[in-house]
């Protein structure tokens, strides 16, 4: 009963989300919609770290490396092919391959968590410096000039698949970006409900126990890392589509730090939290930027300190705990009564469902 109810509730929420994505262009101004498109692209990036950090237990400082690789992969191939269809695929595949190679050495080399943070951070810096020093005509891939610190302007934006001359309008771009966000969210939710997702969480909970049961934690972590890299790459393509521009600042450290702030504010260990945190923080940053009264980094820092001190769990888990406290009795009963629930559905609140 409880499971069926929660499935129905989830389906309703999904339908509401689809409707919201569909009608937004009709109800808000173009500028606000463009901003939402940017937030949605960033939220996909937030989900990539939310998954690997919150569920895989791996704090990767290098999500912007995959984000940037995805952005550049999209831009370079879009300039060359003049068609976004294969470019979007490449923006997913190339960061995933890069994650596979990097992750192989990190996880199969048994490098500890602290060094994983250092390595991913360093890789981001290396990529930034490499791309930053590619000014000049000699740095070109096919028809695409890399442009060094100036970046690549006038990148072709998304078109209807296989129809390069039918470029998407801003409304259609929003639908694609919002749809991609919802799609990635649902994909991760589904994955976490499947046995594969439970194993990812189990390795986070206790690597020793997982290996003593016969699971290979190195393999599990590597696959988590690759999936997270692929999602960050997709976010990169969405971001470049939004601005029709990509520059080396896509690899910047401040963005790496910002993703971590989104997740801390929204709630680690959830999928909804990081999306909420991302949109909220990005909105605040954009608002402050337009006011020019305060420094946005200062405000971001203050927000982070306030959250770590007052709401260490983040917005979404705190709200969920409050809700649970308001209606505690029936929930607890339903849970106990449900003997036949597969473990994935039961009692997953600690491990992820929000």
């Amino acid at each position: 009963m409880a499971v069926r109810f929660s499935l129905v509730a989830q389906a309703v929420v999904v339908v509401l989300a689809i409707v919201a994505i569909a009608v937004i262009p009709g109800v808000i101004e173009l500028f606000a919609m463009m901003q939402l498109t940017l937030f949605a692209a960033m939220a996909v990036l937030a989900l990539s770290l939310a998954f690997i950090w919150g569920f895989g237990g791996i704090l990767s400082f290098g999500q912007t490396a995959f984000f940037g690789l995805g952005g550049y992969a999209y831009a370079i191939s879009a300039v060359n092919f003049q068609d976004s269809t294969p470019s979007i695929l490449l923006a997913i595949i190339i960061p995933a391959l890069f994650a596979a190679i990097l992750g192989y050495f990190i996880f199969f080399g048994r490098i500890s968590d602290v060094y994983l943070g250092v390595i991913t951070l360093t890789v981001t810096l290396i990529l930034f410096n490499c791309v930053n020093s590619t000014s000049g005509d000699e740095y070109r891939i096919g028809k695409a000039l890399l442009g060094g610190f100036n970046g690549m302007p006038a990148v072709p934006t998304f078109n209807v698949p296989f129809y390069p001359d039918q470029v998407l309008s801003p409304e259609q771009s929003w639908w694609v970006t919002g749809g991609a966000l919802l799609g990635v969210f649902l994909l991760l939710r589904l994955l976490l409900a499947l046995p594969a997702g439970r194993i990812v969480v189990a390795v986070r909970e206790n690597e020793t126990r997982a290996s003593l049961l016969g699971y290979d934690p190195r393999k599990v972590k590597l696959l988590t890392f690759i999936l997270s890299g692929a999602i960050a790459g997709l976010a990169g393509a969405l971001y470049v589509n939004w601005g029709a521009f990509v520059g080396p600042t896509i690899f910047s450290l401040s963005l790496s730090a910002e993703i971590i702030i989104w997740i801390t504010v929204g709630g680690l260990g959830t999928l909804l939290g990081p999306v909420v945190g991302c949109v909220l923080i990005e909105y605040i940053v954009a608002y402050i930027g337009s006011q020019q009264a305060l420094n946005s980094n200062l405000v971001l820092g203050a927000v982070l300190v306030v959250f770590v001190l007052l709401l260490p769990k983040g917005l979404v888990p705190t709200a969920r705990d409050l809700l649970m406290r308001l209606v505690p009795a029936p929930k607890a009963k339903e849970r106990l009564a449900d003997g036949q629930v597969p473990p994935s559905a039961a009692a997953s609140h600690m491990a992820g469902a929000e």
Partner: protein, 242 residues
């Protein structure tokens, strides 16, 4: 004349940590279906021995064979897949998951999807946590978490079960239940138990191996071991002498 291959055989096993020799030239053999107790004072090298058997440590020298297959130096998950399960001294459980999920993660390595549900229920019944199946393991008592770990080891259906202090932190009644379970699973599987509680050893033991300062001091039946003067001196001390 064909030699019977023992289930587990360690030969000249040595484990050094810097200058400390935790296991010194240990030779140990376990037959199929055997129940063996390992005893010895703290620091005798019992847990280190278990860690080398399960791939958590790579022995400095020496060989370990499981059914004739060398396992020294293999990784934990490879050894686990060959059929060795361990309950570690400090409970290693998935604290953030429910009891049911913990057991299910152990069951699903072997059982088909259809058989998983009943198998999980059977283990929950055996460890008497059916009523707490959907609780998060972190919220359970220490004794109950010991049970969750024992349940996971049983659920994985290994050929050889290693139990490192299974009765630690349990009440007398729970200890009795543990002893009953151990005797029950010993009907089909070999078990090695490390334990300090002599009453518990007497309940289950057949053959006992005593470790002392990284070496095997004596290996004999429980009565003979308890009567041995050296064992009294190094380990049992006043408790038995009195």
């Amino acid at each position: 004349m064909a030699d019977l291959v023992p289930l587990l055989k360690a030969e000249h096993l040595t484990m050094r940590f810097g200058g400390v020799v935790a296991n010194d030239d240990i030779t140990f053999a376990l037959e199929e279906m055997e129940l063996r107790c390992l005893i010895g004072p703290n620091g005798a090298g019992k847990s280190t021995f278990f860690k080398t058997l399960t791939g958590q440590l790579v022995p400095t020298s020496g060989a370990i064979a499981f059914r004739g297959q060398p396992i020294a130096g293999k990784l934990s998950h490879e050894i686990a897949r060959m059929g060795i399960g361990i309950k570690t001294q400090v409970p290693n459980v998935f604290n953030g998951l429910s009891v049911r999920e913990n057991i299910w993660l152990a069951v699903r390595r072997k059982a088909t999807p259809r058989a998983q549900g009943p198998a999980v229920d059977a283990v929950l019944e055996m460890i008497r946590l059916t009523d707490h199946a959907d609780r998060i393991v972190a919220t359970l008592s220490h004794g109950q978490r010991q049970w969750v770990e024992i349940g996971m080891v049983l659920a994985a259906e290994p050929e050889l079960i290693l139990l490192d202090e299974p009765a630690a932190g349990m009440t007398d009644e729970e200890t009795l239940h543990t002893a009953a379970i151990i005797r029950e699973i010993n009907k089909t599987r070999a078990i090695i138990v490390v334990e300090h509680d002599m009453e518990f050893i007497k309940q289950i033991a057949k053959k006992v191996t005593v470790f002392h300062q990284g070496r095997v001091l004596i290996e004999d039946t429980v009565d003979k071991v308890m009567a041995d003067q050296r064992v009294r001196d190094v380990y049992l001390g006043k408790k038995v002498a009195a």
